[in-house]
Symmetry: C2
Subunit: 344 residues, 2 copies
C-alpha cells in the first residue's frame, strides 16, 4: 500500500489486470495480452508514463473508435530487406511487433533491413521492442512520429509531435544497451503523471495555451505544449525523425497526425520506422568493450563522483530490480479510473 492509497502489485498480476481491462472492452485476448505486456514492461523499467497509465486512454479510444480492436496489420510491401506494414487503425503494438520481428530477422539474415509502419496508433515505449533485436544480435534503431504536442524553439504553440527515437544494442554478456527518448524536453506522460498525483511541474517543461510557461500539468491537455529539447539542435533531431519515420516510412509528418487524447474517435494515423544492422555487418567489433570504454570515459569526466545515473540503462536497471523485488505502485487516481481500487 503506497502513501496515496493506491496499491502495490507484482508485475505478473499487473499484467493480468491490464489484460482483463482490455478484454473487458472487447479487445481479443491475444491482442490484450501483447498490449498489456508492453505497458507493464514500461512500468517495470520505471517509465509509468508509458505503462498501464495509458489504459484509460486506450479504453476510451476503443469505445469511441480510435482503436479498431479487430484490425489486423497487413504487409503492403515486402522484400528481403525492406517492408511496409499497414496498421489499419488497430492497436499500434500489433503492427510494431510485426515490423520489429521482420526487421530484426531480415537484418540477421541479410546484414541490414528497414521496415516502416503506416496508418498506426500509439505503440508504447519504443524500448519494448528490444528483444526482437537483441535475440538476433542486431542493432535496432526505432523511430516514432506522434501527434503535435511539442513547440519549436522559442515558439508558443504545439506544432510538432513528441517524436521518439530508440537505439537497441545487444551486448554479448549482460543486458542490452538502450537509448530511448522523445523530442520534448520531457515526455508528455511525465506531465500527466504529475497531474494524476496533483503535483506542479517545472515551468521549463510546459507552455500553456497562450504560450506562457506554466507549472500546472493540466495545461498540457488544454492546448498547451512541451518545448522541444535542446533548442535548434533538438529541432534537428526532431526533423531527422520526421523525415525517416514520417516522410520515408509513413508518407506523413507529425502536424498531420491525430492526437490520441484530442480525437479518441479517430485512428492517430501515425507511423514508425525500424532499421536493423547486424552487429557484425561491417566487420569484427566488440560492442561490450567499446560500450564499457564509453561508460568509463564519461564517468571520468566528473571532477568528483559522477551522478548516480549518468549512462543509459542505469536508471532502468535500478527500477527493474526494485519492481521485480517489491512490485509496482499504482496511484489511487489511476486505480479509481480503471475500477482497480477494489484490488488494493
Amino acid at each position: 500500500m503506497t502513501e496515496d492509497n493506491g496499491f502495490r502489485i507484482g508485475s505478473e498480476a499487473l499484467w493480468e489486470l491490464a489484460r482483463d481491462t482490455l478484454t473487458d472492452v472487447g479487445v481479443p485476448a491475444d491482442t490484450a495480452s501483447l498490449v498489456a505486456g508492453i505497458l507493464v514492461d514500461a512500468d517495470v523499467r520505471g517509465h509509468p508514463s508509458h505503462g498501464v497509465a495509458m489504459l484509460p486512454v486506450y479504453v476510451q479510444r476503443v469505445l469511441e473508435g480510435g482503436i479498431l480492436t479487430h484490425a489486423t496489420p497487413t504487409w503492403k510491401h515486402l522484400s528481403e530487406t525492406a517492408g511496409l506494414v499497414l496498421g489499419h487503425g488497430g492497436f499500434g503494438q500489433l503492427a510494431a511487433t510485426m515490423a520489429a520481428e521482420h526487421c530484426a530477422e531480415s537484418a540477421h539474415d541479410h546484414g541490414m533491413a528497414v521496415v516502416g509502419v503506416r496508418g498506426n496508433n500509439h505503440i508504447g515505449m519504443l524500448a519494448a521492442y528490444r528483444r526482437q533485436f537483441t535475440e538476433r544480435d542486431v542493432i535496432g534503431l526505432i523511430l516514432n512520429v506522434s501527434g503535435p504536442s511539442v513547440s519549436a524553439p522559442g515558439a508558443q504553440f504545439p506544432t510538432l509531435g513528441n517524436d521518439a527515437i530508440c537505439l537497441v544494442v545487444p551486448r554479448r554478456t549482460g543486458d542490452p544497451f538502450i537509448v530511448d527518448f522523445a523530442t520534448g524536453v520531457v515526455a508528455c506522460g511525465k506531465i500527466r503523471e504529475a497531474a494524476l498525483r496533483g503535483e506542479a511541474v517545472s515551468t521549463e517543461w510546459l507552455l500553456d495555451n497562450t504560450g506562457h510557461p506554466s507549472a500546472d500539468p493540466k495545461d498540457l491537455d488544454r492546448g498547451g505544449s512541451v518545448p522541444v529539447f535542446g533548442g535548434y539542435k533538438g529541432l534537428g533531431v526532431q526533423l531527422i525523425i520526421e523525415v525517416l519515420a514520417g516522410v520515408l516510412a509513413g508518407g506523413t509528418v507529425s502536424p498531420l497526425v491525430n492526437r490520441q487524447r484530442q480525437r479518441p474517435d479517430l485512428p492517430m494515423n501515425c507511423s514508425q520506422l525500424f532499421v536493423g544492422f547486424r552487429t557484425s555487418l561491417l566487420g569484427d567489433t566488440d560492442p561490450d568493450a567499446l560500450l564499457h570504454t564509453l561508460d568509463l570515459a564519461i564517468a571520468m569526466g566528473y571532477k568528483n563522483s559522477p551522478p548516480d545515473c549518468y549512462f543509459p540503462e542505469q536508471r532502468e536497471r535500478l527500477h527493474t530490480a526494485r519492481a521485480l523485488e517489491s512490485g509496482i505502485d499504482i496511484p489511487k487516481a489511476l486505480a479509481d479510473r480503471l475500477g482497480w481500487a477494489r484490488r488494493a
Copy 2:
C-alpha cells in the same frame, strides 16, 4: 576588404588559394582539389568553422605526419548494399567521398545501403557530401565520430567527441533539405573563430581545464571542453552516433580517437557511417509537400512572426546567396597564418 583588414574573395579564387596551399606542402593535385572544394563549400554555406580556417591544422598535420598525403583509401569489405572503407590515415575527405558515392549508388540501385569508414581523418562539414545522395534521389544519413572535446551533462572534463549527424533529403524541385549539426552545444570551430577574431564567447559554450565556465575561446585548446547539447537527451544523441559510426562502423568510440590539434603527428583514427535510403523505398511519398507542411506548421507555432531562420537550410541559403554575390571574408589572422595576406 573587411574591417579587420583581412580580404574578401570569390569562391572560385578561394578554392584555388586553398588548393595551392595544400599542393605547396606536397598534397597531390587531385586530393588538394577535392579537399579545397569541400572546405570552400562550408565557407559558402556560412560555416567558416569548417571552411578554409581548417587549412592551418591540415597543413600542420601534413607536415607532422597526422595526414598521410599519399594514402589511398581501400575497400576492406564490399557487398551490394554494405561496405567498409579504410582511410589509412589519408585526408578524410577521400575516404568519405568514396563511401558517400558507393552508399548513394547502392541505395539507388537496391533501395538501401550502408558504408562505414574506419581509420580516417577529419572529413569536413558532413553536408559537403550531399550531392552524392541528392543526385540519386536517395535520403542520406551521415554520422561522424570525433576526438574528445565534449563534456557529458554536468561533467567538468572533455571525454566525448564533438560528433556530428547530418540528414540529406532530396527535393523534387529546389534545394535539398539538410540537417547538419554536432553534439557539442556549439561547434568547436565557432569557438576557434572567436579566438581568431579575439572575441569572447558565451560562458554556456565552454568550460576551462578546471571545469569552470569560461568566456575565453583559447581555453578550448588548453584542455577545456564544450558541454554536450540538450543535457541527458543530447547525450542520448551522442551515444546513438557513437554506436552507429563508432562501434558498428569504426570498431571505436570517441574517447579512443586522436584529437587532430593535440596530436598533429598521428592520424585521428576516427570513423564515419553513411546510410542511404531510396526516397521511394517504402512506397510513394512526396518529400517536397511534406517538408513544406513541416515548415508551415513550425512557422505557425509562433504567436508573432517566426524568427528569420527557424527551419534548416534557411540560414545556409542566405549565406550562399551572399557568398556568390559578394564573396567570402577571410579574417586577417587566418590570411596571415596561411601567407595569404599579400592577396588582399
